[in-house]
Point group: C2
Chain length 221, copies 2
Amino acid sequence: MKTKDKIILAALDLFNEKGERNISTNHIAAHLNISPGNLYYHFRNKSDIIYEIFKSYELLVDTYLHISSDQEIKIPDLIAYLDAVFNGLWAYRFFHRDLEHLLDSDPRLQEDYREFTFRCLKGIQSIVNAMKESKIYQPLSASQIRTKSLNVWLIVTNWMTYLKTIQADEGSHNEVYNRKCIQHGVYLVLDFVIPYLYEDKRALAIEYQEKYRFDEVESSI
Amino acid sequence: MKTKDKIILAALDLFNEKGERNISTNHIAAHLNISPGNLYYHFRNKSDIIYEIFKSYELLVDTYLHISSDQEIKIPDLIAYLDAVFNGLWAYRFFHRDLEHLLDSDPRLQEDYREFTFRCLKGIQSIVNAMKESKIYQPLSASQIRTKSLNVWLIVTNWMTYLKTIQADEGSHNEVYNRKCIQHGVYLVLDFVIPYLYEDKRALAIEYQEKYRFDEVESSI
C-alpha cells in the first residue's frame, strides 16, 4: 500500500476511535512510524486528510445510491441498501459525529457536502421510484416521493448526531454496543417506509426490520 | 423591562439575525447603548447569556409539550402543537442552526440539552398517546409509539441543520423566505404522521398540511 493511502486509513481509524479533534497530524505519523515530514510530503495539513477521507466516503455512497432506471427492487434489495448506508455511516462515523464542526472548518468541504446532499436526495428518490415501478411501494406522485426522500435523509443524517447528544460519555460503551446503536437506524428508517409498501410485502419487511432492532438505545427514552 | 431581560432579548435578536459567532458581548452592549461594564454586571460572559436564552427556550418547549393524560386531541390541536414547535424553532433559530458548536462550547448546556431531549421525547410520546386515546391515531404499542416519536424528533431537530447545509449563502434570502422554509417542517412531520391517522381524519389533516407547504425549499432537490 502507498504511504498516502496508509495515512488516510490510519487517520480514519484514529478519528473514528478517538474523535477527530483529539488527533493531530503528529499522532497519525507516530501511529504509522513515519516522520511528520514524510506525512507533510503527502498532505499539507489535517484538513487535506479529512477532505480525502470525505472524497472516499462520497465515492462509496455514490456507488450504492446509483441504480439504473429499469432495475427491479425487492424487499431484500431495500434492506441491502439500508444496511450499506448505515455500514457507511459506521465506517466513517467520525464524520457525521462532528459534521458541523468539520464543515465550518473547510469551505471546500462545505460546498462539496452540499452537492453531495443533493445527489443523495436524488439517489433516494430514484430508489423509491424503482420500488414503485417494482410494485413493492404504493403509487406516489413525484412530489410525494420527494417529500418522503427528504424525510428519510433527515432521519439518516440526524441519527449519529442524536446518539452523540444522548450519550453523556462517548467512551462508556464498547464498539459492539456503538455499532448496534447505529444499525438501529435501519429499524427507524424501515418504520417510516413500511406503511407505504403494498400490504403483502409488509410482513417480510417487518421480519428484516426486527433484526436491526436494538432496544437499549430507545430504552432510556 | 429590567436590563438583564433587555440584554437577553437583544442578544437573541442579534444571534438570530447575524449568527451567534459574529456577535460579541460588545456588540450586544452597543446595540443597547449600555457600557460593556454594565453588561458584565449581569452576565460574566457570552456563554452565560446563551445559557439563559436556552433556559427560556426550554421553558417554552416544556410548556407546550406538557399535556394532561386525559386531554382530548383533535386534528386542529395536533396542528397547533406542530405550529408552536416550529414557531419556537424560528424564534430561537440561532440555537439549532449552530447546535453542535454551542454544545461543544459549554458542558453545562450539553448536559441540560441531553435532559431536554429526553423530556421532549417523553412529551411527544404523551401527545401521540393522547391522539390514540382520542381516537384520531390508530392503535400502536408503547414500543411503536416510542419509535415514531423518535423519528419525529429526528425530523424536527434536523430540519434547521438541513436548511443550513443546502443554503450556500445564509443571507441570500429574506426573512419571509427563511420563515417559510422553517414552517415547511410542519409539512414534513405531517407527511410522517398522516398515514397513522384514522382514514376519516386524514383529509382534514392534509388540508392543514397544504398550508405549510413551501415548494421552493424542495424544488432544488
